[in-house]
Amino acid sequence: MARITAGVGVSHVPAIGVAMDTKITDQPYWQPVFKGFEKSREWMKEKKPDVIFLVYNDHCTAFDASCIPTFALGCAAEFQPADEGWGPRPVPVVKNHQKLASHIAQSLILDEFDITIMNEMEVDHGLTVPLSVMYGDMTPEDEWPALVIPLAVNVVQYPAPTGNRCFNLGKAIRKAVESFDEDLNVVIFGTGGMSHQLQYKRAGLINAEWDKRFLDLLTEDPVFASKIPHVEYLREAGSEGVEMVMWHVMRGALDEEVVEVHRHYHVPASNTAVGHIILENKAA
């Protein structure tokens, strides 16, 4: 049977992708950002997930304003890195575990999650930057070491799904994975955040104290964390900080009690606080 063994929370700042793609990660500005992922890359090598279930948001790339799904599950065979306005990232094409993806889609809909099924989709930095930081440098000729099932969450147009809804979606994803008859080690990623505001006169807001409390809660009291209302993210963590609702999907898919095996926090990467956590199920 397939099982979810661990969860990864990680920011997906586009400038981090640019830093890797332009080979400037050892510059003083970037060095401390990447230092915090050294242990993560070791962990990935040990953990060797067969499949990554990757929760992210599209940044007006694959989805324009004509069609805005709350939850869009990628069921295509593969996903090309998108041109976001400055050319596609030079990273491998993302390959799906198509049977597991459509099994999850069916299971979620019967569990009363109103998923949108995507049979064609390009993926932007929201999906590829987490893979890059966790796996290290890769060229388009390489293959990502794991298959990837993308779940795109609307966090651009208000309202994003509630934290509670995301948390319960995580539980339903776990149930779906565990009812799949192939022996697969699945790791789930929740991405985005942490505190940041990209727009208007309050741009540049960072709230390190709030972010650290969020990381603490995620490990220790995830149900409480999932009840944080949208307005708190917006006010305390910046208008784009609301991306953090996606971390609750990851957390909901794990055991109630988890072991925090790694944490990394750094300000800034471009406009954003970089946060990262690795949580393992105890039984795993």
Binding site: E84, Q157, Y200, A203, S239
Partner: protein, 131 residues
């Protein structure tokens, strides 16, 4: 309509809700079209002619032509869309923030290096002397 907007008292921030999305629809669709090189080429060759394809309001069109980044947001633009116009002009997210905040690119970068904008004093419009 009667749904209360509990986020309206946050200063210096637009929450891109349904009302803003409706207002900014054609503006945002124009911006996202610049994701693709062939559209960027067409826009850069003749901005006015390219904009004719998008039935946006005159003041939105004007803000595009003037690259009035804050005005674009005030008129229903969303940052993920307007950043595509900025990218076309060679302006990345951080430098765009430098412009929108009125701080300028260098002072903004320095603020970020020093830990970013503090949340204290920046939670409520009244803290900014706004209502």
């Amino acid at each position: 309509m009667s749904m209360k907007k509990d986020y309206e008292d946050i200063p210096g921030t637009f929450v891109f809700d349904a009302d803003r999305s409706r207002e900014g629809y054609h503006l945002n669709q124009f911006c996202i079209s610049l994701r693709l090189q062939k559209n960027r080429d067409a826009f850069n060759a003749n901005e006015e002619a390219y904009l004719d394809k998008y039935p946006m309001k005159p003041e939105q069109r004007d803000a595009v032509l003037k690259r009035d980044w804050n005005r674009l947001l005030e008129l229903g633009g969303n940052i993920y869309y307007t950043s595509k116009l900025a990218a076309n002009d060679g302006i990345n997210f951080q430098n765009l923030a430098g412009l929108m905040t009125g701080m300028g690119v260098d002072a903004y970068r320095d603020m970020m290096l020093n830990g970013g904008r503090k949340v204290d004093g920046n939670r409520f419009k009244k803290e900014w002397g706004e209502e």
